[in-house]
Every structure is written in C-alpha cells, then in structure tokens.
C-alpha cells in the first residue's frame, strides 16, 4: 500500500535515493518540490493519488532518474554500474560500524590483538553483520532475479530495500529530533545535579557526574544549534568534537567501578535509602556478587563509545561531503524530514484507500494496480 499522496512521493524518493551518492539531499529536495508542484498542477491545485502517480510516471523510472543525476559511472568488477553507488554506501557504513565497535571494544579493555580469529565478543558483531548482509544480498538478489513482478513506481522492490540499507544515516537531523536533544540534555543534566540523586552514587564518582552534566548541557546546546540552523559544518564539527569528548570520558569511566551505591526503596511508610551492599544475601548472590553490575557498567560504557564513534564518523563524512561542495563553516542548513518512529501512530493516512485483489483504489477514484510495470 502506498499511503497518502505525500507518502507516495516519499516512497518514490526513497527509490531514487537508493541509486544516488550519499551527498544527494539537495537533488532529492529539488525532485520532491518538482513532484509536489507537478501533482498540484495536474490535480488543479489539489494533490491526489492520481495526480501524484502521474507526476511520478512523468518524472521517470527512479533508477534512470538517479543515474541521470549521478552519472552511470563505471562498472566495478562484476557489479553493474548502476549498483556502484549503493554498494559504496553500504561498504562505507560497514567500515564505520566496524570502526565504532572496535573503538568501543578497545575502550572496555578488549584489545584486537587478544583476539584469535574473530570469535570473541564484540568483534564478531560487525563481522556477523557483514556476513549476514552478504548472505541477505545473495538470497535477495536471487529472489529478485526469479521474481518477475515489478513494483509500482512508488514502491521499493525487494532488492532496493536491501540496497537502500543505511541511506537514512546521511539524512540531515530532523528539527524535532534536535528539539528532543535540547530537552533531554537539559533534563538529564538537571537530574544529575539534584542532591537526592547525587547521594545515590559513590563520592569519587561525583566529579564525573559534574562532567557528565556539563557534557549533557553541551549536547543540549548542540541540539539547539541544529534546531536553529539545521545541518551545517559548524554544527557537525561540534557534534564530532563532543562525540570525541564523550569517548575520552568513557576511557576514564571504564576504570572506575559500578558507581551506584544506594537505591531508594519504599518500606511501606516512606522512601528510604538502601545500600546495595546491604541487600539480603540471596539478592547479592543473584547478582553474582556485583559481577553482573560490573558487566552492565562495561556494556553501558561500550554503548556510549560506539554511538559517539558512529556520530564522529558520520559527521566527518558529512563535513567532507559539504567541503567538497565548496560550502564553508556556517550556513542556514536544512532539517531532515520527521522520521516515523512509531508507525502505528501514522495509520490514518491509509484510511482513504481500499485494497482489492486487483489493486488499491483511493478515495479520489485513482486505482493503482499491484503489478504495474515500471515505465
């Protein structure tokens, strides 16, 4: 199902995006505006499913439209030329993912030289991801070759769904995502500075709590910059540097023990503080004498390092991309379009369509076959 007319445009753009280089947000924005205006013209001022479908068909096959933009390029080994861009993107992302995991592992104390083969956690994660993707590519490409059915212009093929992996990574940060960073950064920083919270932690961790609170406030400032000015090199640089500071902080954090010393508990009349060390013996036993807590602490640090390394690498790639376009440090950048993190909250757009065996009929009378040949 294609959803609302605007959703059909977005889905078509996703198909175009699959075949474009990573630095193609401008091209996609330009095409989006074109499709909206063409659909409005065809629908006499109104965007309908029919007018969007016609606008998309007039614009052409997504792969050809993308290749016209990007240039077909050269064939690389056995890879057909039109699949070079998606392959480059997937390889870049795998390398970045691998680098982030290796750095995370290094910080938590697992050296790459200690690893015989690639069986040790967490090094096996990027390798497993890469192998899974490879198997998936072989299986999906095989299925796609067998499958003769073409998708309508607004629906990705199975192969495109695979080739499009990771294309979301290079979209600019959404404005409301940036706003959420501001709110969460300030709230968490404030929480860390509250006395009733601080007394829960070991005294030698309080200095780190202050540093974490400052970094959270800097995260909030970064969110504010993205909220105001969208994505530009200064904001990306700020994000990369901040990510670096988090990674350095994690190198200290990994050397201290689990910092939470006490927790609040309700004794039936009031909230009281209970020291973890004073927990009944069975519970302590259950936790494996704090070994599990130490492991949890290491996993937490690992996650912070991996996410920040990822942020550093993606920001660096974007900065290089913008520098290549002769953009300076600061400009009024764009925001990504809101991501539907909770798809079940966005079903209302599908209410104006009905599906039957021979296709989907929309409220404006436009009928879309499930088996339209690509134009």
């Amino acid at each position: 199902m294609s959803g609302s007319p605007m959703n059909m445009i977005e889905k078509y753009l996703e198909r175009v995006r699959v075949y474009l280089p990573i630095d193609s947000e401008d091209a996609l924005t330009e095409i989006r505006t074109h499709l909206i205006e063409e659909a409005e013209t065809l629908g006499q001022g109104e965007i309908t499913h029919g007018s969007v479908m016609l606008a998309i068909e007039r614009f052409g096959n997504p792969k050809e439209a993308a290749n016209a933009y990007a240039g077909i390029g050269k064939r690389v080994g056995p890879l057909p030329a039109e699949y070079v861009q998606p392959a480059i993107r997937i390889v870049l992302l795998l390398v970045a993912l691998g680098a982030a995991f290796i750095m995370g592992s290094y910080v938590v104390g697992i050296s790459i030289f200690d690893v015989v083969g690639i069986t040790n956690f967490p090094f096996n994660i990027p390798v497993m991801v890469a192998l899974s993707l490879l198997y998936a590519a072989i299986i999906i490409a095989g299925l796609s070759a067998i499958e003769k059915r073409n998708a309508p212009p607004s629906e990705k093929t199975v192969l495109e769904s695979f080739l499009g992996l990771g294309s979301d990574v290079f979209k600019p940060k959404g404005r409301w995502d940036a706003a959420a960073e501001v709110v969460l950064g300030v709230v968490f920083a404030m929480v860390l500075l509250l006395s009733p919270i601080r007394i829960l932690f070991r005294e030698d961790f309080l200095l780190f709590m202050n540093v974490i609170a400052v970094l959270l406030l800097m995260d909030a400032s970064k969110g504010l910059l993205f909220f105001i000015a969208g994505e530009n090199n200064l904001n990306l640089l700020f994000e990369a540097v901040l990510g670096g500071i988090w990674v350095v902080l994690c190198m200290f954090l990994i050397n201290i023990q689990w910092p939470l010393e006490q927790v609040y508990a309700f004794d039936g009349a009031e909230w009281v503080l209970i020291r973890l060390a004073d927990f009944p013996f069975e519970i302590v036993e259950l936790f494996g004498r704090f070994e599990v807590l130490a492991l949890l602490w290491a996993i937490g640090v690992f996650i912070v390092v991996v996410t920040n390394m990822w942020s550093i690498l993606v920001s660096s790639m974007k900065i290089a991309m913008y520098l290549k376009e002769d953009k300076g440090l600061w400009w009024q950048g764009r925001w990504g379009r809101g991501r539907h993190r909770f798809p079940f909250l966005h079903r209302d757009s599908d209410q104006n369509q009905a599906h039957s065996d021979d296709g989907t009929t929309y409220s404006d009378g436009h009928k879309e076959s499930d088996n339209i040949d690509e134009t």
Partner: protein
C-alpha cells in the same frame, strides 16, 4: 520494407536525441538569461516555449546540476515555503559568455546546414 522503415525511425530517434541534448543546454541558459528560475519553472517554460525538445522532466534537473558544476549557473535555496524549498538558478558571468558563444555557434550551424540542405553553395 517494414524493417527498413524501422531502421530509419531508430536512426532518426538517435539523431534527434543527440540534437536535443545539445539544444537543451542552450534553451536552459537562454531561459535563465531572461530571469532567475527554479527547476519546476524551467521545466514548465521548456514545455511551453521549446516543446520541440520534448525533454523528459527528469532529465532537466541533471542538466541544471551539470551546468552549475561547470560554473555556468549558480543557485540559491529559497525556503519561503518550507514544504517546497526551491533552488533558484541564475546565469553566472561565464554562463552569459557561454550563452553568447552558443547562440553564435547555433546560428552559424543553422545557416550553414540550411544552405547545405537547400543546395546553395554560392559561398
């Protein structure tokens, strides 16, 4: 006979594509010499005033991008309507010079071909 006609039509189609490819750049530069415009405006103007080009809509944007890369055009985003950001293109000084030279070349080419086709070899 049918096969021969098909071959001719295919050849005409190829030749026509090549002619249009060169003419499209000139048409776009000429439109932008009159006023700055964004992609959709250029597509519409081409459709109205240069219908002989019969350009597929999707081919105009890559052409604009290439002309911009070659510094014949420069662009600026307009976000007045945030739902439809528009990339406005205008001719650069190099673009104006290129337009002048392209026009002269086109004119010479057109005149000479016309004379050649009509069999006038007085010059």
């Amino acid at each position: 006979m049918e096969k021969s006609r098909k071959n001719v039509l295919e050849e005409i189609e190829r030749w026509s594509k090549e002619i249009k490819r060169g003419a499209a750049s000139l048409a776009i530069v000429a439109i932008l010499d009159e006023q700055t415009a964004y992609g959709y405006e250029i597509v519409k103007t081409l459709g109205e005033r240069a219908s002989f080009l019969q350009l597929e809509q999707g081919t105009v944007y890559p052409l604009l991008r290439r002309l911009e890369k070659r510094k014949l055009l420069e662009s600026e985003w307009n976000y007045d309507d945030p739902t439809k950001p528009k990339k406005y293109y205008k001719l650069t000084a190099d673009g104006k010079m290129a337009l002048q030279m392209m026009t002269e070349t086109w004119s010479v080419l057109s005149d000479e071909l016309k004379r050649l086709i009509e069999g006038d070899d007085s010059q």
